[in-house]
């Protein structure tokens, strides 16, 4: 009996073309777990990102690589990555990252051939669109968005040359971007005033993953006219497979996003490098110590997060609380003072916005405490594009040509994503 997993004589002659290709799957749910199984068997290296945990009811839809009931309660990404490891071909790797997509910047995805969106909310899809659009065209991965709706499965592959992910989304769907969704519509529908969850089967989910894998396979082996197409499978009222050519949306905000003209590389990773160390490296590159580093900015669910908070106001008693976090990472618990945290204050509502001490930039005058914090802890995601502004004596933006913005990124960020397990 052969002890090898894959016998080349019995498998596709194109299989070698997939060895060494890297895929990142965002979401290890009903579609994502099937994708991991397919990619592993195709001979690709794969990473997966998910912040959620498996529950028992997931067993009805997820791929058989997930074990029931022993995997219930485990992080989806870590667990699926571990379960898929025995299926990996020689030289292939798999890594599961327990994290939210807001912890990643554009450069984190620049090392992949394909990035698969198998998430159930539009806010994440729009954010990934922004991240991918910020990667220079020559390093930009191809994106596939796969999902289900009723007994329908759909998968779209795009290279961002004809349209972007946001072009595929109705702006009305983005009003509540965190509502559970699929790639073809909101997963909540209203019939005669009653709200109903749009149901899908495990067959539709596995079919969405299958269509996605087929699109990658066709693209890798060079089948013509694969790119920028949608394949849709419907099981009801008739069983059929159709293709369509999505178009660019009028005035699409996603299509307006452009990558920086030039990126200057710093050594290290945002996870390890402190603000003080970053300043030294930037100073060496610019030959100038008079600059400001802009706090990381990202848009999520129609909210722009771009400030770093030193302190805020307790949402219960109004007293000052120390925060030291980026706006996008502040939780309700951060807005409670020590005394109120020990009480039951779940009903208290509060907002960070407009209150507290905050900053839009970091500079050399910052405290030692701040200088010793890593860039990640200061809110920069893994693979961030970091904007540094040199005023050069300019008073404001009306002094044209004086202000210089340089975009920096760290050279280890795009490989770090293959090894980290939690962010």
């Amino acid at each position: 009996m052969e002890d090898r997993l894959y016998n080349p004589l019995k498998l596709s002659e194109y299989r070698n073309m997939f060895i060494g290709k890297r895929v990142c799957t965002i979401g290890a749910g009903a579609v994502g777990t099937y994708l991991m199984e397919y990619f592993a068997k195709m001979g690709m290296s794969l990473d997966v990102i998910d912040f959620d945990s498996f529950t028992l009811e997931n067993a009805a839809k997820h791929s058989g690589i997930i074990r029931t009931p022993e995997d219930a309660g485990r992080n989806k990404a870590e667990c699926a990555s571990m379960r898929v490891k025995p299926l990996l071909d020689e030289g292939c790797e798999s890594n599961g990252i327990n994290s939210n997509i807001t912890n990643f910047g554009p450069e984190a995805f620049a090392d992949y051939e394909y990035v698969i969106l198998a998430v159930d909310n539009y806010a994440a899809k729009v954010l990934l669109d922004e991240l991918i659009r910020q990667i220079p065209e020559e390093r930009r991965p191809k994106v596939i968005m796969a999902g289900t709706y009723d007994e329908m499965a759909s998968s779209v592959i795009l290279d961002h040359k004809k349209f972007c992910i946001r072009c595929l989304l109705d702006e009305e769907w983005l009003l509540n971007g965190l509502e559970r969704t699929s790639c073809v519509g909101p997963k909540i529908r209203r019939i005669n005033g009653n709200t109903e969850i749009v149901r899908t089967s495990n067959l539709a989910s596995s079919m969405a993953a299958h269509l996605c894998a087929e699109q990658i396979r066709a693209d890798v082996i060079g089948v013509p006219d694969v790119m920028n197409k949608r394949i849709t499978y419907t099981a009801y009222p008739s069983l059929e497979l159709s293709t369509s050519l999505p178009m660019r949306k009028n005035n699409c905000p996603g299509c307006r996003i452009m990558p920086p003209q030039q990126i200057t590389w710093l050594s290290g990773s945002v996870i390890d490098v402190t603000l003080g160390e970053a300043f030294k490296q930037i100073e060496d590159k610019l030959g100038d110590s008079d600059f400001n580093m802009t706090v990381h900015q990202f848009n999520f669910n129609c909210i722009s997060n771009r400030e770093f908070y030193f302190s805020g106001v307790c949402r219960c008693c109004g007293s000052k609380v120390r925060i030291m976090k980026h706006e996008g990472r502040i939780t309700e618990d951060d807005l409670l003072c020590g005394a109120c945290a020990s009480k039951d204050v779940k009903d208290q509502q509060g907002s960070i916005r407009g209150e507290g001490e905050k900053t839009l930039v970091f500079n050399k005058d910052n405290s030692k405490e701040l200088m010793d914090m890593t860039l990640f802890d200061l809110g920069y995601p893994l693979g961030a594009h970091i904007e540094v502004l040199q005023t050069n004596g300019a008073m404001d933006c009306l002094d044209e040509g004086k202000q210089v913005i340089t975009v920096f990124a760290f050279d280890e960020d795009h490989t770090k994503i293959h090894t980290i397990s939690k962010l």
């Binding site: 905000p253 996003i257 129609c302 722009s304 839009l360 404001d396 933006c397 009306l398």
Partner: protein, 213 residues
């Protein structure tokens, strides 16, 4: 860096837009140029200040007209002054990202629309309706206590409500005629028409036909 925002426009229609840095610079330049033409420089002075990173423009707006100020967050007794200044900050991402305006916390405007921290309460920011022009206009008219722009329904400092209303009722507010804030319009008048020209010559009314009996 691009800034995106979803907002309700003037018609209440939900829209999503994104602006680039170049868009912000162009919008700031256009609005600043308009601002410079708008006000009477004898009364309103607008000076550029050094920006901090993340800011596109920082202006100091001063109105040289009688006004009233407070000195501490707990101060409720307005004091007279002959001029009042505020700092206006236009951030990157304008016009999607709103403008902020502050008074010196030790010399802030006594008004129902100014927080006790010195932050000016400007109306809800509606992109492409609100602008640098609308914010500065609200500020300069607030500084002369013009009740036309004062909002009593959403007050930042309710302790100033009755004082402000009394001033308006007694005719003390606004402290100067608001028209004095603005530059007189220098519109070229058309040339005076020549009295002998055909257009102005009165034509004699023709005689009525003879009456018929």
């Amino acid at each position: 860096m691009n800034y995106s925002a979803t907002f309700n426009d003037e018609q209440g229609i939900r829209r999503t837009m994104s602006v680039s840095q170049e868009d912000t610079f162009e919008a700031v330049r256009n609005d600043y140029n308009e601002l410079m033409k708008k006000y009477n420089t004898d009364v309103v002075s607008i000076n550029r200040c050094q920006t901090k990173a993340g800011e596109a423009l920082r202006l100091e707006v001063t109105v040289k007209a009688p006004s009233h100020y407070l000195t501490t967050p707990s101060d409720t007794e307005p004091k007279s002054c002959s001029a009042m200044s505020a700092t206006v900050i236009v951030k990157m991402g304008y016009p999607l990202v709103g403008i902020e305006a502050y008074y010196d916390p030790k010399h802030y405007l006594a008004s129902p629309n100014v927080f006790t921290s010195g932050r000016a309460c400007i109306d809800t920011w509606v992109p492409f309706k609100s602008s640098l022009l609308t914010v500065v206009d609200k500020l300069v008219r607030d500084m002369i206590h013009d009740s036309e722009v004062t909002r009593y329904d959403s007050m930042a400092n309710s302790a100033m409500e009755s004082w402000h209303k009394t001033g308006v009722r007694n005719g003390q507010f606004p402290t100067i005629d608001p028209r004095k804030l603005y530059m007189r319009e220098k519109v070229a008048m058309p040339p005076r028409a020549n009295s002998r020209s055909a257009a102005t010559v009165m034509r004699r009314v023709p005689a009525l036909p003879p009456r018929r009996h």
